[in-house]
């Protein structure tokens, strides 16, 4: 049953997977084509069609001219917001998670099992349970409606994932390695820097990709804790798709959707293997 000879049943397999692949690709193809059609052309036919006149101008308009709510600066400011939240939060949560994961797996200290257990509960606690407390805390420390506030939230919440990923990876490193280094007089940071970090490339890539994708795509916190010009791009996409009633502008909207999805799609295309490892690592928990 696992041979490569071509039989009718294998033709059927190819037919089915091709149909599925077409169904999975269709929405992306439709949006890419729409991003290159004029708004009028879409309004006259439907969202699904081949461009009659290539409207590359949609991208320029979506990037810096299109109106979201009252301001007409395209989605560029919101893309910038998303980058300014996602990049620092990814770096902070990954680094802190790596150090903490190393501490709970190889260094061992009093209470490590407990604190690790509690931190990983964060994988399961719904965001809705944290919305009101975060609102109050952010307001009290003056970070409501700021990008720094979102960085703080994503760093602290991201730790649940980053500590888990790193801990599960470091636990496989032989303890003898650490013990020998300690006997030689190396301390916590020295061992981390000289022994652990050089071994960490795979897990750090997995963690960075996972965190970046999650934070970039996050919507609920963005829309709850920021308004107007401070919002990340996911929230801006919702805002720009709302006033659909007056003039149809799906061409430009499609271009905006493509631009907003591009960073995580590119990361997926170039780091697919690590992306999938993050998925499965997050699932097995």
């Amino acid at each position: 049953m696992r041979d490569r000879s071509f039989t009718p049943s294998r033709a059927l397999i190819y037919l089915i997977v091709t149909l599925f692949a077409a169904a999975y690709l269709a929405p992306l193809v439709v949006v890419i084509l729409n991003s290159l059609r004029t708004n009028e052309e879409i309004a006259q036919s439907s969202m699904i069609g081949w461009p009659q006149h290539w409207a590359f101008g949609n991208y320029a308009l979506a990037w810096s001219g299109f109106c979201v709510a009252e301001t007409c600066a395209g989605i560029r400011p919101y893309m910038l917001n998303s980058a300014l939240v996602t990049i620092p939060a990814t770096i902070f949560s990954t680094l802190l998670g790596a150090v903490a994961g190393y501490a709970v797996s190889l260094w061992r200290f009093r209470g490590d099992v407990w604190i690790y257990g509690i931190v990983t509960l964060g994988l399961f606690l719904p965001q809705q349970m944290r919305l009101l407390p975060w609102t109050i805390v952010l307001r009290d420390i003056g970070l409501i409606n700021t990008l720094s506030g979102l960085v703080l939230i994503h760093t602290i919440q991201g730790l649940s994932f980053t500590v888990l990923f790193c801990r599960n990876y470091y636990i496989a490193i032989p303890h003898e390695l650490i013990r020998a280094a300690r006997i030689d007089g190396a301390g916590f940071f020295r061992i981390f820097w000289r022994i652990i970090l050089p071994l960490s490339a795979p897990i750090l890539i997995v963690t960075v990709i996972w965190q970046f994708t999650h934070i970039w795509n996050e919507f609920l916190y963005g829309v709850t804790f920021t308004t107007g010009q401070q919002q990340p791009v996911t929230a801006a996409l919702i805002a720009l798709s709302t006033p659909i009633a007056d003039i149809p502008k799906q061409g430009v909207q499609s271009a905006a959707v493509i631009i907003a999805a591009l960073p995580t799609l590119l990361i997926y295309l170039f780091g697919g293997r690590y992306f999938v490892r993050g998925l499965t690592a997050g699932a097995v928990k």
Partner: protein, 309 residues
């Protein structure tokens, strides 16, 4: 002489200096972990506490017992949301499991282009739910999407108006959710299929079992632990689904596609009913625990068995 003094003072000095020296590492370990753990515990308690207070616009002290819970549970909004969650959760999990399993089995047939196909089936997972919801809201919109295309092509009797149809709108969320995350099930199942012992498969073939029989009787039974994991992860997503619904139907038409996460958001930030919003959030947590606690127990039992075996 100096030698002697320095040895005499060393114990005391080095104990302090040892603490000072190790301070950075204590801070690096404990501050992030404690912040994370403390926010999880205190925020949970905080939200639970608010759910028992008469808070509306701002959190206030006071105790109203289960009044917020009763009013949420009695509201039409929540009842519709809960019914939708049952339907959405079951339909989405079953369909995405079967789709994922089918794709995994097909990809496991040593077909050409497996890598490309796997990339195609998994890419929706890299896209945000907001993007998925927006795109599907266009495709499924009868005025501009698939129905309009069919009409333009001459098939004027074609009807596909689920997005604006109260009874069917929840299925549009099922469709978009399956499109987005059945690749996840596929990835886990494929990993499971690849780790099946090839000797078992050979033994089954020697016994004269055909491919279908081999899969059904020999290979698939080894996948059930993965199946449980996939079900739990997908249910967890279904219970807290928010972005996708917000972008696709925003709970509409009317409140036909309301889900618990939308009810929570609505109560907290649109109706300024903090107490009730917190109660709805706690109810969401309870629904989640109804899934996760049996799963945790099941994993515990399995680990103990594995340890004894």
């Amino acid at each position: 002489m100096t030698e002697l003094v320095s040895t005499a003072t060393r114990p005391g000095r080095s104990a302090t200096s040892e603490m000072v020296r190790r301070l950075p590492e204590f801070l690096m370990i404990w501050v992030p972990l404690l912040l994370s753990a403390a926010h999880l515990i205190s925020f949970s308690i905080w939200t639970i506490w608010i759910s028992f207070t008469p808070s509306t616009l701002v959190p206030v002290t006071g105790w109203v017992g289960l009044r917020n819970y009763n009013s949420v549970l009695a509201s039409r909004n929540w009842q519709i949301a809960f019914d939708n969650l049952l339907l959405f959760g079951i339909a989405f999990v079953l369909l995405s499991l079967t789709t994922g399993l089918l794709l995994a089995i097909l990809l496991d047939q040593r077909i050409r282009g497996e890598n490309v196909l796997r990339t195609i089936f998994l890419y929706p997972l890299a896209v945000s739910f907001v993007v998925t919801g927006t795109v599907w809201s266009w495709l499924l919109n009868p005025g501009i999407g698939i129905e309009k295309l069919a009409h333009d092509l001459g098939w004027t009797s074609f009807h596909f108006d689920w997005l604006v149809n109260r009874d069917m709108a929840i299925w549009t969320i099922v469709i978009a959710a399956i499109w987005q995350s059945s690749g996840f099930a596929m990835a886990l199942f494929l990993a499971g299929l690849r780790s099946v012992d090839s000797d078992i498969i050979k033994a089954a073939q020697i016994d004269g079992a055909g491919p279908v029989r081999t899969y059904w009787r020999v290979i698939l039974p080894t996948l059930w632990p993965i199946t449980v994991t996939v079900v739990v992860v997908q249910l967890q997503f279904a219970i807290s689904a928010f972005d996708l619904v917000r972008a696709l139907t925003n709970g509409g038409p009317g409140i036909a596609t309301q889900l618990p996460a939308l009810v929570v958001y609505d109560l907290m930030f649109q109706r300024s009913q903090l107490g009730r919003g917190a109660a709805a959030a706690v109810l969401m947590l309870l629904i989640l625990l109804a899934v996760l606690l049996p799963y945790a127990a099941w994993r515990y039992v399995r680990q103990r068995r594995a340890a004894h075996a």
